[in-house]
């Protein structure tokens, strides 16, 4: 009797232990990871529409796709025009700060299949990734350049911009602009796109 009671007690302890482990695993599995919990708040819009975020307003006024890019005012002898194994995406964009000096430290394209492409570092970027500090009431516009594979240049491509204060995009507003609407085709220009790094106020 004592043996049966002891064995039963151990069995119950083991079952309870496994149940606690299973419950812990279940909670850990269904709980979103930190990146999902801290994700930025997307505010969507289309080409030529102003999109208002907490710190800035953005309006993408043009988008072009090309196989090469010529950089205006480049001092280097080569390489100009710049070639790519994929597609260049040239965006003309206008920003204005809302209430305090602001920089656009985050600029990326997101393809329909979920890949994220940060603004390229193959050219100087002045309007995004930390370039010009925007002053409230003084809009500034310029070009931003991205490099993506051909497989990403399809319908569903969007651009995302965020102030990313302290280079952190978490838990803050992020503008999302549809560059290629669903069903639309992408035309890749075979002549060189003209990229101008200058920021115009």
């Amino acid at each position: 009797m004592s043996f049966l009671r002891r064995t039963g007690s151990r069995l119950a302890s083991t079952v309870l232990f496994i149940a606690v482990l299973a419950a812990g695993y279940g909670i850990a599995t269904i709980t979103p990871d930190l990146a999902a919990e801290h994700r930025p708040f997307l505010i969507g819009g289309n080409l030529s529409e102003p999109i208002q975020t907490r710190l800035f307003e953005v309006k993408v006024t043009g988008v072009k796709f090309g196989s090469t890019v010529k950089v205006a005012g480049s001092l280097s002898a080569k390489p100009s025009p710049l070639a790519t194994g994929g597609v260049w995406v040239l965006i003309h964009v206008k920003f204005s700060a809302n209430s305090k000096p602001t920089r656009i430290n985050y600029a990326a394209l997101v393809s329909a299949d979920g890949r994220t492409f940060l603004a390229t570092d193959r050219v100087d970027q002045k309007i995004v990734i930390g370039g010009r500090e925007l002053q409230p009431g003084i809009p500034a516009e310029g070009d931003a350049l991205f490099e993506i594979p051909k497989s990403a240049a399809t319908a569903g491509l969007v651009a995302r911009f965020a102030a990313a204060e302290k280079y952190d995009v978490r838990k803050d507003a992020m503008a999302e602009v549809v560059l290629v609407p669903d069903g639309a085709a992408v035309f890749v220009d075979t002549s060189a796109l003209a990229y101008d790094p200058a920021v115009k106020a």
Partner: protein, 212 residues
């Protein structure tokens, strides 16, 4: 007999289980160090969950317009590899708590490296500078799905010896949650590191800095 066994304390059962596990593991090599796989050959594509890497060549150079060292007389160890990101995001060179572009290849077993770093007490040094061969300029990022030839460069003290063949580590990655923050990130997977032995060409004479 069965009753006597069943009547043993949990502690006794635990110790017996541990001894049995050790004995069984001993049959399969136990705690012996696992044999190292042979180094990969130059030109072999090494596939990891986040990237595909093919080491192409290695050279020692005196200077390059994209390289700025601590001392102008220092030389540079430069390894060229074709790298394709299969991860779904741009990789930069500034990962603080996660793997980044500088982790694609690491240098090991070379003396005189200016900024040497270690991993688990063993030399495993990240590149000081990465050159995008297409532009022959420094780069700090690589885009997913766009394979490029990159030259990974390490500054070495002037006059330091270097072997005829260089051993390069191509690191492997895994997508997993950080143990402290639970944030999903690309992390180094040391079990997937592949070594590549590549001939090292001395090009110092033809890459001397141009004096104005």
């Amino acid at each position: 007999m069965t009753l006597r066994l069943a009547g043993q304390s949990t502690k006794t059962w635990g110790i017996a289980g541990a001894v049995l596990a050790l004995a069984v593991s001993g049959l399969f090599g136990g705690l012996q160090e696992a044999p190292k796989p042979p180094p990969a050959k130059v030109g072999t594509e090494i596939v990891s969950p986040a990237w595909k890497v093919t080491v192409l060549s290695a050279r020692v150079i005196a200077s390059h317009r994209a390289l700025f060292g601590l001392d102008k007389t220092n030389q540079w160890i430069a390894v060229t590899a074709r790298v394709e990101l299969t991860a779904n995001e741009t990789f930069k060179t500034n990962g603080i708590d996660h793997a980044d572009l500088s982790d694609v290849v690491r240098l090991t077993g070379l003396k005189g490296i200016v900024k040497e770093s270690k991993r688990y007490g063993l030399p495993s040094t990240r590149a000081d500078t990465i050159i995008l061969k297409r532009d022959d300029k420094m780069t700090q990022m690589l885009q997913p799905g766009l394979p490029e030839e990159l030259e990974f460069c390490w500054e070495q003290k002037a006059g330091s010896e270097f072997p005829a063949q260089l051993t390069i580590q191509v690191l492997g990655l895994e997508w997993r949650a950080d143990s402290s923050t639970n944030q999903l990130q690309w992390k180094l997977d040391d079990g997937k590191t592949v070594e590549v032995v590549v001939p090292l060409q001395d090009q110092r004479a033809t890459t001397k800095p141009v004096t104005p």
